[in-house]
């Protein structure tokens, strides 16, 4: 049973535009969420987090939005850069981290 889902396996965006990566979860008890970025042959790198007491958290070009009633979060990257091309994972904290399947972002110059 997949508790955290990223339904888009891939996303292609033009440089300078906004990238929006989506994530859905099923367990309303989750109260902390993280986004990770992964390049090939490297471990995931922490990007940004959000607590369920907030609905938005911003760090430079990266903003995460949380909609608790919809059990949905999204990561916005503005403006997108070619170096952002990577696989992005969302994760929910339930003791351990529970990951989605990932979305591969490709930013075209």
């Amino acid at each position: 049973d997949q508790q955290v889902k990223q339904n888009s396996p891939s996303l292609s965006v033009q440089e300078g535009r906004i990238s929006i990566l989506n994530c859905d979860y099923t367990n309303s008890m989750f109260d902390y969420f993280l986004w990770y970025k992964k390049y090939p042959a490297e471990g995931p790198t922490f990007l940004i987090s959000i607590s369920s007491i907030k609905d938005k958290n911003e760090d430079g070009r990266f903003t995460v939005f949380l909609n608790k009633s919809a059990k949905h979060l999204s990561l916005h990257i503005v403006p997108s850069q070619p170096g952002d091309s990577a696989v992005y994972f969302c994760a929910a904290v339930g003791g351990k981290l529970i990951f989605g399947q990932g979305t591969e972002l490709s930013v075209k110059p």
Partner: protein
């Protein structure tokens, strides 16, 4: 150390052999996690430690898999009688405390069972 370190970075072993994968967490981090990742999938939880004890080992697929953290820092994941289906990247992460804090990952060990 500065980050989470995993050794070896690559391991090729024959079916049926025993392997050990090592993880050195960030100094002072009490929580340590093991995951494995297959191509095109997200990291799959195996086990996590709080200090020396396994707080949750519900992700270990069967009794061929075992992990220890005897002194609350370095951890070893042990796989007996390896099978070709065990081939994956094994990831280790650590966090200051378990729960609502960021976990930092090592670069992973790519295990190939031939």
């Amino acid at each position: 150390g500065a980050g989470v370190s995993q050794t070896p970075s690559n391991k090729v072993t024959e079916k049926g052999k025993y392997v050990e994968l090592r993880c050195d967490p960030i100094s002072g981090h009490t929580a340590l996690y093991w995951y494995r990742q297959s191509l095109g999938q997200g990291p799959e939880f195996l086990i996590y430690f709080q200090g020396t004890g396994a707080a949750d080992d519900s992700g270990l697929p069967n009794d061929r898999f075992f992990a220890v953290r005897p002194e609350g820092s370095v951890s070893t994941l042990k796989i007996q009688r390896t099978e070709r289906g065990d081939s994956a990247v094994y990831l280790c992460a650590s966090s200051l405390i378990p729960g609502n804090t960021e976990a930092f990952f090592g670069q992973g060990t790519r295990l190939t069972v031939v």
